[in-house]
């Protein structure tokens, strides 16, 4: 029972990161109908910025801030310099371009930092605190929950309570009408990319210290897990992404706890396959016919 409790809490902490990353995917999907396959590589790039800043200044928090800033900037740059120029008539094109970005970003990171794992520092202890003799949560897990919670709340606030959030939703919902009403649709899309990429950078900063370390490919499997989480919740639904992320985190934690960590990739694939075959619209999809 103790073990089950531990695995559950550990899974929720892992799931919080997947939720943040899935949220980033959903943000771009809602804004521009693109699944950003370069999200993982962009997030790793931001984490490398943090690594450099921390190495230069000795402060984790300066690096953390730099990563978020780099994430925001990178998202905006990718949208303005690349995605805007792509012909969006075929849905294949943005996906292919995003994959080109993956190759490019990972290769540049490999050239600058080398293709080896670098230790990533965690700001808090990762040993679990014991409550009544049971190992429960580590300070780092609490930090993860707090960070994801704050970002989630901030996103909700931006999208539901601010004028700019309203404009972003309008630009995504009805681009032509919004443009007529004076909304800068392109600018809103860029802002959406920046926000999503910033959230992705946060997720990378949170997840990398818990894995093998910093590597140009560090986010590959995290991306697949987060994509599974986003599909599980329905690509269109931010609350779905959070629930999906927590669900995937729990499942992976149980699989690695009871069956062995080697099986995690296989479990992700099996879950994705099951969801796509049984309920491709996700758990939260409204029942609609496919538009023809």
């Amino acid at each position: 029972m103790d073990r089950f409790l531990f695995l559950t809490l550990d899974g929720l902490s892992r799931g919080a990161v997947y939720a943040a990353f899935a949220l980033a995917l959903v943000l771009i999907w809602r804004a521009g109908r693109i699944v950003n396959f370069a999200q993982g590589a962009m997030a790793v790039a931001a984490a490398y910025v943090a690594y450099s800043v921390t190495a230069a200044t000795g402060s984790y928090w300066l690096g953390f801030g730099a990563a978020l800033l780099a994430g925001l900037l990178l998202g905006a740059v990718v949208d303005i310099a690349v995605m805007r120029l792509v012909d969006h008539r075929s849905p294949l094109n943005p996906v292919i371009v995003a994959l080109g970005l993956v190759l490019l970003i990972q290769a540049v990171l490999g050239m600058l930092y080398g293709n080896e794992y670098r230790p990533a520092q965690a700001p808090f202890s990762r040993t679990a605190l014991a409550v009544g003799g049971t190992a429960v949560l580590s300070p780092y897990d609490l930090f993860v929950f707090a960070a994801v919670g704050v970002v989630g709340a901030a996103l909700v606030w931006i999208f539901t309570r601010t004028a700019i959030g309203l404009r972003m939703r309008a630009a995504a919902f009805a681009p032509e009408v919004s443009r007529l009403l004076g909304v800068n649709v392109g600018g809103m899309l860029t802002l959406g990319w920046a926000l999503a990429s910033g959230v992705g950078a946060l997720a990378a900063m949170l997840v990398i210290p818990t894995e093998l370390g910093l590597h140009p490919h560090a986010m590959d499997l995290v991306f697949v897990s987060a994509f599974t989480a986003a599909v599980l919740g329905g690509l269109d639904s931010p609350p779905g992404a959070v629930v999906g992320g927590l669900g995937v985190g729990l499942l992976l934690s149980y699989v690695s706890g009871y069956a062995g960590g080697d099986l995690i990739p296989l479990a992700v694939l099996a879950l994705l396959l099951t969801v796509l075959l049984l309920r491709p619209g996700g758990l939260f999809a409204p029942v609609t016919a496919r538009r023809v």
Binding site: V86, D87, I96, V97, V102, L103, P265, L272
Partner: protein
Amino acid sequence: MSATRASAPPHQHRAVDLVRPGRPVPTLIRHLAVAAGAALVVLLVSYQLDSYRNFQLATVAAYLCATAGLTILTGLCGQLSLGHGALMATGAYTVALCQSAFFDRGVTSGSVLLLSLVAAVAVTVTVGLVVGVAAARLRGPYLAGLTLAVAVVVPALTVTFDGVFNGEQGLAVPLAPAPQGLGVYFPHERWQLWVAAGATLLCLVVLANLVRSRYGRLFRAVRDDEVAARLAGIHVARTQVIAFVVSAAGAGLGGALLAVLAQSVSPGAFGLTLSLFLLMAVVIGGLGRLAGAVWGAFLLVALPDLTHSLTNLFTLSPAAAQRLEGNLPLAIFGATLIVVMIAAPGGVQGLLSRLTRALRARWPAGRS
């Protein structure tokens, strides 16, 4: 509107252009003739080149199977697969396991390689069928995501089941030497080139015929407009599964040939990067044309070589040189892909056909 488009797909207009006076040559004969010509060229070239170039050419042939298969799927049928690297791994590991099984039982004749290659294609087709059936209901980002998961997960499986696949170390592929009849000093690389080129040309003839057949037309109809295709009585899901299986067979053969060339397989060679590379090659070569797949395969082999000689021009510290050498081809590939998608979506082959069309317009057919 869409229904009319499906009943007269664009390729029929092209077929009209191609009609020449006199009796038309059957497609199969024409393709066989081209293949025989190509085989002759490879044969002659294999005696001119040194061992290393022969090996490189053989690698091009191996990649060509996979890129041609991917061209059928992505270019012709409009489905994006990021999992072809994993399918190549399936073929490669099957060949390794089969060859080891044969050699362990003392069967060391050269002809068992043929059996192993057939087994590799069969196993990959089965895997392709499973993925294809799952994928046929998916479109756009969902299909890309699923195949991406396959590409990330399959190499990891070799570590999970390391009793069979021997983990990161991989397996050796025992091979019989070149036949005695060719002489004792016959270079091994030339023999490898013959095997790879033979298998690849066979594969290309089959695929080229498929492109020109009823199935090729079905694939294009599904790609251009699914709804119209369905209205015209085409079973869309079945057509997509067939395309996936055919392209999986190509990838399996390509992976098997790669394993035969390298005489070993390891998961590191079949990571996500390989899948992305294949897609890049197909897109840069020109989506939807088998000729584009040829350009792409050459690019896959030539680019690392070019960047290697490029980095040799500069004097770098060994560590920096190593970093640059591993990553520069990736960076160039990624950047080229983005530029091609934005500036010239037809790829190399698209540019070439535009050029020839422009030339024909300047010098009309009567004079050329």
